[in-house]
Amino acid sequence: MNARRVRRRVVNGMMTGLVGVLSFLAVLALVLILGNLVVKGGSSLDWNFFVKNPVPAGESGGGVANAIVGTGIIVGLACLIGLPVGIGAGLYLAEFGSGRLGWIVRFVADVLNGTPSIVVGIFAWTWLVKPMGHFSALAGSVALAILMVPMLARTTEEMVRLVPHSLREAALALGYPRWRTSLRIVARTALAGIVTSSLVGVARIAGGLVLLLAVAARSAIRQGPPHGAAR
């Protein structure tokens, strides 16, 4: 009996230590990577060298400005397409999403959330680039919007669900129609959360941009849209 108790205590201590060590390892990985970035990034030429293309003598600041404007336009367009759809779908899930359609939409959103950006990239390429014949900013934007919508929908739903029921009931009791309750009271209360999640969404698609650089919109980003819109 006693020996068994000791054994149980030892196992308890060992396992506690083990999960602690595992956590420590995970944090260590982060510290190592960040530390390396700081140290190497500051001193070594190699890093810059592989991240950037060599800047030619003749190509000056103009190219960079164009790239920034081009990226801005692409992200802006993506938000214009992605925000209404994502937030709208999220509101639907929160307000009316208890039925079969809600289940399907929620499931599809989660599945799309896990779709590799590279697949979205080639999809955007076929869908927009080929028929229009240009590598345009729009293609990049739509691809980014596709990456953004499922996540926005799910986070919006979550935020709206966090709004206390009493608030909604109070509005309904005052005679507000449901749509006004939903938009004026519930969505407004959840707005901060929705904005935050939108920002996270934009941040995530900005990361996806790297991939689109490689696949679909590489030059559109580097030089602005071909139709001259970025000039």
């Binding site: 999403g97 919508v149 669900r161 939903s182």
Partner: protein, 328 residues
């Protein structure tokens, strides 16, 4: 109504209708939201349709052979994706082998053992790992991880396990091992974050009951908490697998990009995502392009299946809530 003729009800109709949600504004509101929501399934269908259409020439030309032949010769116009399928799955599984103990350890430590005030900072730090761009992982892998593996990890590994086919051959650096390790580091935050949410969703009564019966803390975790959240934890792991399958840039930089199938993790390999990223923009013939689309389609199908599985499992535990999606 007719059974109670005590006094006439003072026309409550408009109010009632409003509460039941049948006025015009409500209908428009609901309709608009429904249209926006239906966009998502339509998007999925469009995605599948477009990928199939673009991949069609390759599907028609190679049929199922595409899946199990391993020659990838753009000059001769012969394409078989077996090495990429193998490499994608092998590197992701290798990543899981490394990442699962780490991330479950983190999740259990943070929810059950860590002192209250370090929980949040550590969780934040680990999730910060998810915010580092893929390319940075790739560069770190090339300049730090590979030299480290070459000097510190591979020699002892080979000394102990060199007789198995898994550690056979010369280690050049870029390899299945390097790709798998970087993937592991990249998916730890995802698995850890989702597992943590799953464990937090386990009712406190589970823990208390076990502790009340005299269990040690570890026993409470292992016999009460973990089994309760089992489906969710498996879901979190599969979610991590989904991430690993689709990861592109870092793997491209580390895996060696070689169309080969070999058991040894020291040998270079290829993944589907890497092949698309590498070859898409310069695919000169239509058949070549179409073959890459078919690779994309396969990758999509694999990730959809994996993700669907993960979601279903997570929902078993945290029914209907958005557990997991926030962590993405």
């Amino acid at each position: 109504m007719t059974a109670l003729p005590i006094e006439p009800v003072p026309a409550p109709e408009p109010r009632w209708r409003a509460l039941r949600g049948v006025n015009a504004g409500d209908r428009i509101y609901r309709g608009t939201l429904t249209v926006l929501a239906v966009t998502l399934p339509l998007l999925l269908l469009a995605l599948v349709g477009e990928l199939v259409a673009s991949a069609w020439p390759a599907i028609r030309r190679f049929g199922p052979h595409f899946l199990w032949t391993s020659v990838w010769d753009p000059v001769a116009g012969v394409f078989g994706a077996a090495p990429m399928i193998f490499g994608t799955i092998a590197s992701s599984l290798l990543a899981l082998v490394i990442a699962v103990p780490l991330s479950l350890g983190v999740a259990i430590f943070l929810t059950e053992f860590a002192p209250k005030r370090v929980r949040q900072p550590i969780a934040f730090l680990v999730e910060l790992l998810a915010a580092i761009p893929s390319v940075v992982y790739g560069l770190w892998g090339v300049f730090v991880l590979i030299p480290f593996l070459r000097a510190q990890v591979v020699p002892p590994l080979r000394a102990v396990l060199g007789w198995t086919p898994f550690f056979d051959g010369v280690f050049y650096g870029n390899s299945l091992l390097a790709g798998g390790v970087i993937l592991a580091i990249m998916i730890v935050p995802y698995i850890a974050a989702v597992s943590r949410e799953v464990l937090l969703a386990v009712p406190g009564s589970q823990r208390e009951a076990a502790l009340g019966m005299g269990a040690t803390r570890w026993e409470a975790v292992w016999t009460a908490v973990v089994p309760y959240g089992r489906a969710g934890l498996i879901g979190a792991i599969i979610l991590g697998l989904g991430r690993a399958l689709g990861e592109t840039m870092a793997v491209t930089m580390l895996i060696g990009n070689r169309h080969d199938i070999g058991l040894s993790v020291l040998q270079p390999a290829y993944t589907m995502a890497a092949a698309i990223a590498n070859e898409f923009s310069e695919a000169t013939t239509n058949l070549y392009l179409s073959a890459l689309f078919e690779v994309g389609l396969l990758l999509f199908v694999i990730t959809v299946v994996v993700n669907a599985l993960a979601r279903l499992l997570i929902w078993q535990v945290a029914r209907g809530t958005a557990v997991g999606s926030r962590a993405l």
